[in-house]
Symmetry: C2
Subunit: 389 residues, 2 copies
């Protein structure tokens, strides 16, 4: 039997002795600024494009560690290195954030993706706490305000849907807004924070949660109903489980036990539904009616799905004492640590096939950077410390 | 040893006794018009959206069989049934074709995808031959002219790329234009046909073909150079091999032996490069530098890749006598027939994992319809008949 203490040490050491040093060693672009994120198995750069999601997330990670773990000057320097590149090159004229840039900062892909703005807000918000720098605070706040203005039509001119025929809303934005308003709480009016949290909890737990199914849907009609279409049938189990730890944190803050219990129940329902009983691990996408999903990668096992699930299960167990959360934690932990970390070259693989074999031998790419693994390890470590108390 | 005659019978019977009856039985929407294409393992409809690619391709298939195999009234009725739905609901005001429609024909997704227009041209072109109907001919011709006008900026307002930073051109459009100008040759000025064919052969065989690599790239710079980026490194082996049978047909028409030999060489190079020596079958996507591709589905085995390869290999063998083409044909044939057809419920699976196991138990979906399998079976059957002579 593994003791709680040995789990604590494992998560802390993986974060501080493996994952963070890996990104410090391999990802810094000393010449052009910002970070390389396309890193192969050994950490070697195989593509130099700069994706704003990942630039911003890495700034956030190093700022957060500086704010929460230790005021380590190297960590702050990493965050400022990325922030400098982002604020110089990252924004279009209207202040929205490009999706990607060339190595030297020329814009490649339009600011079509509102999540670039979300991660930029997180990055500059955390860094403003670390530095007290007003410019960073202003960037975070103005980007957040722009997100709120865009939220009802996030894709804007880049939307391919014909307006009105089948209006659907997507789960990702309310889910991330929950988290975002807390990230920059120090910069916002308290009324706006409380109102945003109220709306987000309602959207996630009442509108996207389907009580008949016991699961959270990825897309619903504007009235919160089921749409019998590819988008409407889509389930993204990792996404739903990740949202549940945001909700648990909000429920704790509000001392709302019913909300906590509901988040635990949804987590366990999702695990039962999406766990691959044949090969282990959680499926990436599913169809709520059991039909073939559109996503060809539906049966793959992704790093972020598993690391976010570990966070949710530990928080669920810590906050409610639920034993099933602990049992599932041990099961998902065993699968995750047997398959994702690379003991030879460090850090984690991101993409496994259904059998848990490495599908793409990369440590970073267009979507995987210095974010889910370190954030998840940090959250698990802290929750395990609290469990020991 | 399998005789040529028994191959001939297999391909003909699969087309006429399995695949075509499957679509006749399961895909017709008698109530709202057009075709259902989202059909599960048994042929049962699991989604009712109408994708213009697949509506048009099915109209083409039945028209082509009527024109080429037998003037069977049921086939013509199928084609007219689909064409009636398409011409009523399929076009936006400017004459471009929507990407998808609801079951009853309301537009769902904007005409962002120029290939909807390409397949509509093919459909109405073939149907105009079958019927002599001027309206169909006019639709085919005006759509083709619109494609030529859009060809230099096919994504138009829906493009997310920042113009100028990294201009790239994509292989799909010149490849399909080769084929398209022949499909509606009867409607076009001969000078335009010859000029389009000249341009297409040059683009495919000189611009997208990389002589150092011996393979065709999916995207190149406007000058036809390699771009060291995800898009620039991308290889799509099935796409390249499919293009080679279009080129072989054009080379035959022009009696150009050098072009034929080059198409055979590229085909064999691509097979050597993309054949999965461990589990058999051809990979879906690869990176020309051996880096991880963006596409998570890169190692899957897709129906159209394999059926198009069979066509190319038979044509290559028939037109040049190349023995390696025949040997590869027997190898790819054995893999294909062992993995894709469903002997219980008929038709073919579309999506297998790397090991050749069924990944999605569908016969049709958003991208798989009544097109590659019947067209490929027809082309193989005819080429085998010619081989017997």
């Amino acid at each position: 039997m593994i003791t709680t203490q040995s789990y604590t040490q494992l998560y802390r050491d993986a974060l501080l002795k493996d994952v963070i040093p890996f990104w410090q060693q391999h990802s810094v672009d000393q010449q052009a600024g910002g970070f390389f994120t396309c890193l192969d198995q050994q950490g070697k750069v195989y593509d130099t494009d700069k994706f704003v999601w990942l630039q911003a997330r890495q700034v956030w990670t190093f700022s957060m560690l500086y704010n929460q773990v230790e005021q380590c000057p190297d960590w702050l320097a990493m965050a400022e290195h990325g922030a400098s590149f982002l604020k110089t090159y990252g924004r279009a004229e209207d202040g929205s954030w490009y999706f990607s840039l060339t190595r030297d900062g020329q814009p490649l892909v339009q600011p079509y993706n509102i999540f670039s703005d979300c991660f930029a807000t997180m990055a500059f918000g955390q860094l403003s706490v670390a530095t007290g720098n007003d410019e960073y605070a202003r960037i975070a706040k103005s980007t957040f305000e722009q997100i709120l203005r865009r939220r009802d039509n996030p894709k804007g001119q880049w939307s391919k849907a014909i307006a009105g025929t089948r209006p659907l809303k997507n789960f990702a934005l309310p889910m991330i807004l929950c988290n975002l308003s807390l990230e920059i709480e120090h910069l916002l009016d308290q009324t706006l924070v409380d109102q945003t949290i109220d709306e987000c909890i309602h959207e996630v737990m009442d509108v996207f949660y389907d009580p008949d199914l016991g699961l959270i849907r990825e897309n619903v009609t504007p009235e919160g109903k089921f749409s019998d279409s590819y988008e409407g049938r889509l389930l993204n189990p990792g996404h739903a489980i990740e949202a549940m730890w945001f909700i648990m944190d909000l429920a704790t803050r509000r001392n709302d036990h019913a909300l906590l219990d509901k988040a635990v129940r949804i987590t366990l329902n999702t695990l039962e539904y999406a766990w691959d009983s044949q090969f282990g691990g959680l499926f990436y996408f599913m169809d709520s009616q059991g039909h073939p999903p559109q996503q060809l990668e539906w049966d793959q096992k992704l790093w972020w799905v598993h690391v976010e699930t570990l966070v949710t299960l530990l928080k669920g167990h810590h906050k409610t004492g639920n034993q099933a959360c602990w049992d599932w934690f041990e099961r998902v932990h065993a699968y995750t640590w047997a398959h994702f970390p690379d003991p030879v070259h460090g850090e984690w693989y991101g993409y496994l096939n259904r059998r848990g074999e490495v599908l793409l031998p990369l440590k970073g790419g267009k979507w995987k950077g210095c974010f889910h693994v370190p954030r998840g390890l940090y959250q698990c470590w802290q929750t395990l410390v609290n469990l020991e108390k």
